[in-house]
């Protein structure tokens, strides 16, 4: 089958790889119809995540049709149309019982590697480096889905792929970012990054009752999407001297009640501190450039919440712990526990509270995946989200 494989930093290729097979009784094989490129795929693409190997099949946002199930899978059958959450979760361990699915204690067969880097291991994730298990991803024609009796959500209404595809990651990730903010009526929420996760975080903050949402980015086309589709105000950081100062003046001097970092480890900025971070990262003296996170912390009101949904891999420099401690900030974070949001968010889509298709700017066939990565990385042609279609895209 065709699959998009990571071959070297800044290089992916469509390669012929074997078709997946059932390895465990709780597996299912899904014939993929639609799959998307995630902002976090760009961290792998750019070579900032260790533990990638030549030939790794990428992709963790995918949906399709069940073509085979293992003997222990009773809730799905051949022909079912499913969306697949990006974390792999067993449903039986303490973490899964507490609905912390991205922290499943069993689904990462490379747990020890992750423990060395992070202290404790996290769940397995499709197509997302060997640190999260070394599972082949979903930017392919087929994928093996472990614990298929726990993760996939059956879609049996007339929705198009695009309407439900983002339930696999970016919609719930943005939603969790907003939920972590413990929004009270009247709250002002700031969101760094107007990529897909930032857009959904802004929209979700409104759904959860925020009075105002301010989205920060430097690309006018992305800020326009935020204004038009999420009801947010926007701030172009290239037009202000200091984001924390600008936010202070926009919020009566208080600062936002909560700040969401939807940027992560490859933030851009202007000025000497940005140059400093680029140099340190290039020399592998820090793995991540925490520019958005620093700003979020410095901007947040006293006693507020900083919610980190942008992906970080390892270690950062010049972390303003003094601000966190002295100003009583709460730092919350996590890979999204997608499973627990699938049904509630599907209901929001069904009710018409949100139409997730507003982020899609490009639809390409799977074989043009490498061009999709380039478009998305360099934000060419006003790219916000690339959806890849396989030949099996029968639902369209």
């Amino acid at each position: 089958m065709k699959a998009i494989c990571w071959t070297a930093p800044n290089r992916v290729a469509v390669e012929d790889v074997p078709e997946p097979r059932i390895l465990n009784d709780r597996d299912a094989i899904v014939r993929i119809t639609s799959t998307a490129i995630c902002g976090s795929d760009l961290h792998l693409y750019d070579g900032y995540v260790p533990a990638m190997k030549r030939g790794d099949v990428l992709g963790h946002e995918f949906m399709g049709e069940v073509v085979e199930v293992g003997s222990a899978v009773t809730n799905l059958k051949e022909g079912d149309r499913v969306v697949v959450p990006f974390p792999i979760a067993c449903g039986a361990c303490n973490a899964c019982e507490a609905e912390l699915y991205s922290l499943c204690e069993n689904s990462n067969p490379n747990a020890r590697l992750a423990e060395k880097l992070w202290g404790h291991a996290t769940a397995g994730i499709f197509g997302y480096s060997h640190l999260t298990g070394g599972f082949a991803g979903g930017q392919a024609e087929y994928a093996r889905v472990p614990f298929a009796d726990v993760g996939p959500l059956k879609i049996d209404n007339g929705f198009t792929d695009e309407q439900v595809l983002f339930l696999t990651d970016v919609f719930p990730t943005g939603y969790m970012g907003a939920e972590l903010c413990e929004i009270q009526p009247g709250d002002v929420i700031a969101v760094w990054g107007a990529g897909p996760v930032g857009q959904f975080a802004a929209a979700s903050a409104r759904l959860l009752g925020a009075e105002r949402v301010i989205v920060i980015d430097r690309f006018e086309y992305r800020l326009r999407v935020a204004r038009e589709h999420t009801g947010a105000e926007t701030l172009n950081y290239e037009e202000v001297d200091s984001v924390p100062e600008a936010l202070k003046e926009l919020t009566g001097g208080r600062g936002p009640d909560a700040c969401i970092d939807a940027v992560g480890m490859e933030a851009h900025f202007h000025g000497p501190l940005y140059a400093y971070d680029r140099v340190k990262q290039a020399l592998r003296q820090e793995s991540d450039r925490p520019i958005a996170l620093r700003e979020a912390i410095m901007s947040c009101r006293n006693g507020g919440i900083v919610s980190v949904m942008g992906v970080y891999g390892g270690f950062v420099d010049k972390f303003p712990i003094g601000a966190v401690m002295n100003r009583g900030l709460t730092l919350k974070a996590g890979q999204c526990h997608v499973h627990r949001y699938l049904r509630p968010l599907l209901r929001h889509i069904e009710n018409g509270d949100i139409d997730p298709t507003f982020i899609v700017t490009h639809t390409l066939p799977l074989r043009e995946g490498p061009e999709g990565y380039e478009l998305f990385k360099h934000k060419r042609d006003d790219c916000l989200k690339v959806v890849l279609k396989t030949d099996a895209a029968v639902w369209q």
Partner: protein, 258 residues
């Protein structure tokens, strides 16, 4: 049970660090004597590299002594004597005065390491009784099942039990707090014949019980909690430390690979 309440080893982390330092420096002196001569400001011709090699052999022997003996008091004192010898040799180099800065830097380094050498020698010299080198090891896992189920799973895992028995280990079970299932704790005392050196060697082969249990307890947990050993495309045999660094790519397996 409290974490290690009683000190079980005479050697501390500083003692071991000095031992490893000796081995590392000695190895460098033995294998690259000329480079090290230049580093300390001495001639890299003539007799200097020969002397450097001799001093390297001395360092390696001292390091091995410190790492293998349970209470290496004499070996540590020999490091103090070695520091004195090194300082006098460097004094001779300094007297010729060809590269004063480098030699001064080398002298400062030897003086800096002499301080912990003396303090550790004194600490071990004050110790009485039988030398102690046993290292208690504990490996634990929480399995989200009632105690009876976990005990039954352990009873059924005969290969794993044999491994623990062979190491003289013991296992105990306890209810995890807040209804989180059962804690399974394996404890044993590690006392390899060649001390820290032997321990490091066994660790490298991955045959020590601690490394094996890192896999085995995870796999036991997976089997009890999920009914299977979790496999990925890169780790098709499930969690195996030995395979962690030489994984295949995350691509579906060829038919018949397994």
């Amino acid at each position: 049970m409290a974490a290690h309440a009683v000190r079980t080893q005479d050697k501390g982390s500083l003692t071991k660090a000095l031992g490893w330092f000796s081995v590392a420096l000695g190895t460098a002196q033995l294998t690259a004597p000329r480079a090290l001569c230049r580093l300390v400001g001495a001639d890299d011709g003539g007799r200097a590299p020969v002397v450097m090699r001799l001093m390297g052999a001395r360092e390696v022997v001292q390091g091995v002594g410190i790492l293998t003996r349970p209470r290496p008091t004499t070996w540590l004192w020999s490091r103090v004597a070695g520091d004195a010898l090194d300082l006098s040799l460097l004094g001779l180099v300094a007297a010729r005065g060809e590269h004063r800065v480098r030699t001064a830097f080398a002298i400062a380094n030897v003086a800096a390491v002499a301080a912990p050498d003396v303090s550790e020698s004194l600490r071990l010299a004050r110790m009485g009784g039988e030398p102690r080198a046993a290292k208690p090891i504990r490996k634990a896992v929480t399995i989200n099942r009632p105690r009876a189920d976990v005990e039954a799973a352990w009873a059924a895992a005969s290969e794993l039990r044999d491994k623990v028995d062979a190491a003289g280990g013991s296992v105990r079970f306890a209810d995890a707090p807040r209804g989180r299932g059962t804690e399974l704790v394996v404890e044993w005392v590690q006392e390899p014949p060649l001390g820290d050196l032997g321990l490091a060697a066994v660790k490298l082969t991955g045959k020590d019980l601690a490394t094996q249990l890192s896999d085995d307890l995870r796999r036991l947990k997976q089997r009890v909690e999920t009914g299977e050993v979790v496999r990925s495309d890169a780790s098709p045999d499930g969690h195996l430390l030995a395979e962690h660094l030489r994984q295949r790519a995350a691509q579906p397996l060829e038919e018949g690979v397994r």
